[in-house]
């Protein structure tokens, strides 16, 4: 997780170190602010369903908050439309350090839209992203797993999958 440490350097942390720093910083409940940078509204619907009885992120210690000032985690959807970039940058800057950025959905990960005069094609260029959640749209279960990876309570298991059949897994 790269966080703006006091020296201002983006220090990439290994996953073990990530779990310890995150546990120390977010010992208490974690507040989430979402940011739609041009999504098609189905990612927003899946994020809304996180608060539904089936998934209920409150039981895992996550809470939604409209004010970026009180948010620890920024959930970004959409391919970062260029016209929206100033508002996105303002939202990110309005959040206090330490903060975690989670890119949600194929648009944000640079899938559906390629960089062109209308969109940046992904949010990687605007924010230092900590966790990437693929899917179009990512189901609430995938989102919950992404959030728990963001706070280090679940491991990032996709890095060990190699998506190739009858190949002895490394």
């Amino acid at each position: 997780m790269t966080s703006q440490s006091a020296t201002g350097l983006n220090v990439p942390a290994t996953s073990e170190e990530l779990r310890r720093t995150v546990a120390r910083m977010f010992g208490r409940s974690l507040h989430i602010r979402t940011l739609d940078t041009g999504s098609c509204a189905s990612c927003e619907q899946e994020i809304r369903l996180l608060a539904a009885p089936h998934y209920d992120l409150h039981r895992l210690g996550f809470f939604f908050t409209p004010a970026p000032r009180h948010a620890d985690l920024l959930m970004v959807t959409g391919p970062m439309v260029r016209a929206f970039e100033t508002a996105a940058r303002k939202t990110y800057d309005a959040m206090p350090d330490p903060k975690v950025v989670v890119a949600t959905g194929a648009c944000a990960l640079g899938g559906v839209y390629q960089p062109d005069p209308f969109t940046h094609g992904g949010v990687g260029g605007t924010f230092p992203v900590d966790v990437w959640i693929p899917g179009c749209p990512p189901s609430p279960l995938a989102l919950l797993q992404g959030l728990l990876v963001a706070v280090g309570r679940l491991a990032d298991q996709v890095k060990d999958l190699d998506f190739a059949l009858n190949r002895t897994p490394r």
Partner: protein, 671 residues
């Protein structure tokens, strides 16, 4: 020591200051000299006022007179002490304020001369010993104030405002003369202390008539609703120190008149007389603050706030008279004391606010709330001083407004001591109205201070404001006076209690101030608090969060980010509350009083659903001007038209009139 000679000294100083101003007012040195002398006079008056409070009524001194006018007699009474002291304080503050406020010029000299003479006339009113002196001084003061307001005669609204002041002043003067004539006729003397001694001679209907005439006459000057109409017209057009003097003191002379008649000349009287006064005061307070909430011009806003505070003082006097009618002498004296204390407080912070309004008008060139904003960063000293004044007038602890309104409320809450349920209910109802007024006052002054001083500047002038050459000393002195009146309240109340013994004959001091700086409202088993310790406690309590913040703030690097605005491109000044939108809730709740007329022009009224510029205006209908004064004025104009044919201009006709008049007089005499 006898305060009269000191007052005479003050009067001489003001006369001299007027002379200096009239002769060499067009140079800056001349103005500074005149103001210095006027300041000295003010200091002398302040000292004289305090000594008048403490030393009781002085002897009546005959200061000459002429055949035409009759003998001029002066007497420094302790009731007038507070007012003289307030006059002195305002004179000193204005002396500090005026040199930097006025640009040297011929009219400036004229204006300062008139100002000093007006202060002199006001002093004469307060120390008048007999009826003739009082009336002569009163009329001189009224005319000089009229000239004061006419600082810029060429502008039409200035002439209109000044004329409103003069017209209502003259109507009031007729009522005051009638009241004095009744008293003098009944007690066969012109001397005020003798009238007071023979008060029992004025009995029954004459007594009530005299009091009602005095209440109306002085009500015009004080600004009791519905006689208040000249205040919002005259204040915006007068210069800052002029309107400060008008609001700070001239309205207080009206209150002095009511107190003089209510407590000195006709002390007793039926209960309904007090209730009527209390009702008038309560209505004035409520309507005054409601209209203040709907104003966009700073000075009109402060003028309506003056009406509200006058209402509070007159309610206190009314309640005092009611308690007297039910034999509660202690509460009678206590409420008079509380009313006079509020006079001093209001005179202080209202003058401060008017002077600061003058500074704002000079710096930004406008008095409209919706064209100001963000002045706190550009005028730090003025904003701190105005904040202290606003805390005072909004009656927020720990400042002086809170102490005097607390005293008045404690007096009103003891309505049950009158024994009669109806009267108790009426008194508590008045307390309720004052409660509503207090709440609205805080709301109004959050708006009155917040809109111009906080937030972003709404126009270029507001953005370019700077207080480099603006007067600070005058308002700073008044702010210090506010704090002193609050922290030193027990000392001030002790002096006033001494004065109450001479005016009402009730020794309040042991009950009011049992020592260790606490104040008890007339009866020990009711309530009490200490303004001094309250201030200390509040300062200590406010220090705790500061310490917590200092101890707990993050050590690591901290970032400063702009306020969160939802990610819009940039925050426009039009995206803040404006004065009228801030007070919209009261416009909705009290629309029966305001009767707002709304005009909306929207680009989105176009059927195609396009969006674009929006213009929304909501104007309140001026009820008193339209439904009370305009019919009266039209009636007089009609009467004038009817009478006009008499002046047909033919000499023979005039001779016939003379003959007819003599014939009629002869026939009446022959009856």
């Amino acid at each position: 020591m006898n305060p009269l000679p000191v007052m005479a000294g003050a009067a001489a100083a003001w006369g001299l200051a007027a002379l200096i101003a009239l002769t060499c007012g067009s140079t800056r040195a001349g103005i500074r000299a005149s103001c210095a002398v006027s300041g000295l006079g003010g200091a002398a008056a302040l000292a004289a006022g305090v000594s008048a409070l403490l030393s009781g009524n002085s002897r009546v001194v005959t200061a000459g007179g002429s055949v035409v006018v009759g003998t001029l007699q002066l007497q420094a009474t302790s009731l007038a002490g507070v007012f003289v002291a307030l006059l002195g304080l305002i004179a000193v503050a204005t002396a500090l304020y005026a040199p930097r406020y006025h640009e040297p010029g011929h009219t400036t000299g004229l204006y300062l001369g008139v100002f000093n003479l007006a202060v002199l006339a006001s002093l004469a009113v307060l120390v008048a010993g007999n009826v003739v002196t009082f009336l002569v001084a009163w009329e001189t003061m009224a005319l000089l104030c009229y000239l004061l307001i006419l600082r810029r005669p060429r502008r039409s609204e200035v002439a209109a405002g000044a004329f409103w002041f003069l017209a209502l002043s003259e109507v009031g003067f007729v009522a005051i003369i009638a009241a004095f004539v009744i008293l003098a006729a009944k007690t066969h003397t012109m001397q005020l202390d003798l009238i007071a001694a023979r008060a029992h001679l004025v009995s029954g209907d004459w007594r009530v008539a005299a009091y009602l005439l005095a209440l109306t006459g002085f009500g015009f000057k004080a600004g009791l609703v519905p006689l208040h109409v000249w205040l919002p017209e005259a204040h915006p057009v007068a210069p800052a120190d002029g309107s400060a003097f008008l609001s700070g003191l001239i309205t207080k002379l009206g209150v002095y008149g009511i107190a003089l008649f209510g407590f000195v000349l006709l002390p007793g009287g039926p209960a309904w007389r007090g209730i009527l006064t209390m009702a008038a005061g309560a209505v004035t307070a409520a309507i005054g603050i409601l209209y203040a909430l709907n104003e966009r011009d700073i000075k009109r806003f402060l003028a309506f706030s003056t009406i509200e505070n006058i209402g509070i003082i007159v309610t206190a006097f009314g309640a005092a008279m009611t308690f007297l009618a039910y034999g509660q002498r202690l509460l009678w004296a206590f409420l008079l004391l509380a009313g006079l204390y509020h006079v001093a407080n209001h005179g202080t912070y209202k003058t401060l606010l008017f002077q600061e309004a003058g500074v704002i008008e000079h710096v930004t060139g406008t008095r409209d709330f919706d064209r100001l904003g963000g002045l706190a960063h550009r005028m730090p000293r003025s904003s701190v001083i105005t904040f202290l004044g606003t805390l005072g007038i909004a009656a927020l602890p720990p400042l002086n407004g809170f102490v005097s309104e607390w005293l008045i409320f404690q007096g009103l809450f003891q309505g049950f001591r009158t024994g009669s349920h109806l009267v108790a209910i009426l008194i508590v109802l008045a307390a309720g109205t004052l409660g509503l007024t207090g709440g609205l006052a805080v709301y109004a002054f959050v708006r009155g201070y917040g809109i111009p001083f906080l937030g972003m500047p709404r126009t270029r002038q507001a953005a370019a404001a700077s207080e480099s050459r603006q007067p600070q000393a005058g308002p700073a002195l008044l702010a210090a006076a506010c704090v002193a009146l609050a922290v030193g309240a027990p000392v001030m109340l002790a002096g006033l209690a001494r004065a109450m013994r001479t005016v009402t004959g009730v020794t309040l001091r042991p009950v009011l101030l049992p020592g260790n700086l606490t104040v008890i409202p007339a009866h020990t088993n009711f309530s009490g608090f200490s303004p001094t310790w309250l201030t200390v406690f509040l300062l200590a309590v406010s220090a705790v969060p500061v310490l917590i913040y200092l101890a707990g703030r993050p050590r690591g690097g901290s970032r400063i980010e702009p306020v969160w605005d939802g990610g819009i491109v940039e925050f426009k000044p039009r995206m803040q509350y404006s004065a009228m939108t801030f007070s919209a809730p009261t416009r909705v709740m009290f629309d029966a009083l305001y009767r707002p007329s709304v005009s909306v022009h929207r680009a989105s009224d176009d059927p195609a659903g396009s969006s674009g510029p929006v213009h929304y205006e909501s104007e309140a209908t001026p009820i008193f001007e339209r439904y009370l004064y305009r019919p009266v004025i039209r009636a007089f104009e009609w009467l004038a038209d009817v009478v006009r044919p008499i002046q047909s201009g033919d000499v023979n006709l005039y001779l016939f009139y003379v003959f007819a008049a003599v014939l009629v007089a002869y026939l009446i005499a022959a009856l």
